[in-house]
Amino acid sequence: MLTQAEANVENGPDTGNGVIISTRDVNVYYGDNHALQGVSLDINKHQVTSLIGPSGCGKSTYLRCLNRMNDTVDSCRVTGEILLDGVDIYGPSVDEVLLRARVGMVFQKPNPFPKSIYDNVAYGPRIHGLADNKDDLDEMVLTSLEKAGLIKEVQDRLHSSGTGLSGGQQQRLCIARALAVRPDIILMDEPCSALDPIATAKVEELIDELKENYTIIIVTHSMQQAARISQRTAFFHLGEIVETGDTEKLFTSPSDKRTQGYITGRFG
C-alpha cells in the first residue's frame, strides 16, 4: 500500500494550479467489504479530474468520500486522510452539512425536486440562509441558472415544474442547483450517463466553462468523455488507484498495463 501511495505522490500533479484536495491512504469498508484500498490522490484546483475504471472499482465510493455522502450508509467506515485545503474533512471541526455545501454533487440520474425550477435552485440558498431577502434570492437563482447555461431555455417558465424539462436540461438544472450554494468543488457521478449525445455535449461544454471557477471531479464510464473534458485522469481498479496522470498522457501512452488494457477495451 505504502509503495502505491508513494508512487502516486511521486507522479503527482503539476503544481501550477495548486492542490485543493489531498487524499492519503484512504480506505473504505462497507461492512466486511474493503471497497477502497489505500487510495492516495491529489486534486488540482480549477481543473477537471476524471475518475475512470470498471464498475465496482471504487471510483464512486471515492467520490462520495469527498463530501461525506458515504456517511449516509450505515455500514460504511472510512479511514485515512482527506484534506480539503489542508483540513481533514473527517476531523471533528468539520460539519458534514457545511462540507456538502462547499463540495456540491451532481448525480448520475438527473434528480430535480418535483418542484418549480425556481424552487429547485432556491432550495440550497434557502436552507443555508444565503439570501437576505427575496431580491437577493432571485438574483442568486438567475445567476446560477445563467452559469449552468440554462437561463435562456427556462427564463419564461421559472415557476413551472423542474421535472417537466428534458433530461439534459434537468441535469443542468441540477448543476445550477449545486452552483447556487456557492461550492468550491463540484463532484459529478456519471452526470451524462442518462443523456443523449447532444445533451451530453452541452453538459461537457458547461463543465469546461465551469472549471475556470470551480474544481470539478467527475466519475465517468465514457473514456472519450474523460479524454475530452478532463485535464487529469485517475484509473481505479479493484479498489485501488492504478494510474494517475495527465489525461493526454494516460490516453496516448499509459504506463500501466492494466490501464492500457482497460482504456483500449481489452478487459473490464
Binding site: F251, T252, S253, K257, Q260, I263, T264
Partner: protein, 238 residues
C-alpha cells in the same frame, strides 16, 4: 501484447492493418532488391518490371490509409491501439517513398544500361544489401513489437551513411579521372543517394516502431553519418 480486445472484430481489423504493413514492407524490400539486381545484372527487363511493381505498393498504401481512417472514425482507438493506427499511417507513407526510390533506381538502371559498364558499381549492391537487411529487420521489429531490434536498426543507419560517404568520394574521384563516365557516375550517385534515403526512412520507421511499442520517442539525437552535403574533393579546394 495484452490479450485481445473484448470486441473481436476490432482485433481483426488491427491485425489486418498490421499484416498489410508487413506485406507492403515486404513488397518494398523486394522492389529494392530487384532494382539493385537489375543494376548488377544490367537487366533492363527486370528494371521495367520493378518500375511497374511500384503501383502495387501505392495501392497498398491507399488500402492502409483507408483502413486507418475507418478505424479512427469507428473504433476511437486509444493508447497503444491509437499508436498502432497512427504509426501505420506514417509507416505506410514512408514505405511508399521507399518503393518510389526503388523505382527511381530502376529508371536509372535503364539509362545506365545504354552505356558501358563502369567499375564502381560494385559498392551499390553492398549498400543495397545493407539497407535491405535494415528493411528486413525493421519489419521483424514491427511484427514482433521488438523495440530493441528497432533501436538496433535505428543506429545502423550510420553505417549506411558512412558507406555512402566513401562511395560518394570514390565516384567523384572516378569522374575526375574519366570525364566520359560523368553521366553514369551521376546516375550512380543518385542511386546511392536513393538507397541512403531508404536507410533514413528505415530510421524513421524504427523510431515510429519504438514509439508505437513504448509510447516514447528515442531520447538521444539521431545518429548522422551523411557528410556528403559538406564534402569537397581536396584538389578542388584552393
Amino acid at each position: 501484447m495484452n490479450s485481445g480486445h473484448i470486441v473481436k472484430s476490432f482485433d481483426e481489423e488491427l491485425e489486418e492493418v498490421r499484416n498489410t504493413i508487413v506485406e507492403m514492407g515486404g513488397l518494398a524490400e523486394t522492389q529494392l532488391e530487384a532494382a539493385v539486381r537489375s543494376l548488377t545484372e544490367r537487366n533492363t527487363e527486370l528494371a521495367l518490371k520493378t518500375i511497374e511493381g511500384d503501383k502495387a505498393v501505392d495501392e497498398l498504401e491507399l488500402a492502409i490509409d483507408n483502413m486507418s481512417i475507418r478505424l479512427l472514425a469507428l473504433r476511437n482507438p486509444v493508447a497503444d491501439d491509437l499508436r498502432l493506427v497512427i504509426s501505420a499511417l506514417k509507416i505506410a507513407s514512408l514505405l511508399e517513398r521507399v518503393a518510389d526510390y526503388a523505382a527511381n533506381i530502376s529508371k536509372r538502371v535503364i539509362a545506365l544500361n545504354t552505356a558501358p559498364t563502369i567499375a564502381p558499381i560494385s559498392s551499390i549492391p553492398r549498400m543495397g544489401e545493407m539497407v535491405r537487411r535494415m528493411i528486413d529487420d525493421t519489419l521483424k521489429a514491427y511484427t514482433n513489437g521488438d523495440s530493441d531490434l528497432a533501436y538496433d536498426v535505428w543506429k545502423r543507419d550510420q553505417d549506411v551513411d558512412q558507406l555512402y560517404n566513401s562511395m560518394f568520394r570514390e565516384l567523384l574521384t572516378f569522374m575526375m579521372e574519366d570525364p566520359r563516365s560523368i553521366t553514369s557516375c551521376t546516375h550512380l550517385i543518385f542511386m546511392a543517394k536513393n538507397i541512403e534515403r531508404i536507410g533514413d526512412h528505415m530510421t524513421n520507421i524504427a523510431e515510429i516502431i519504438i514509439y508505437q511499442v513504448t509510447g516514447e520517442m528515442p531520447k538521444e539525437p539521431r545518429p548522422k553519418g551523411d557528410k556528403t552535403s559538406v564534402t569537397m574533393i581536396d584538389n578542388e579546394t584552393p
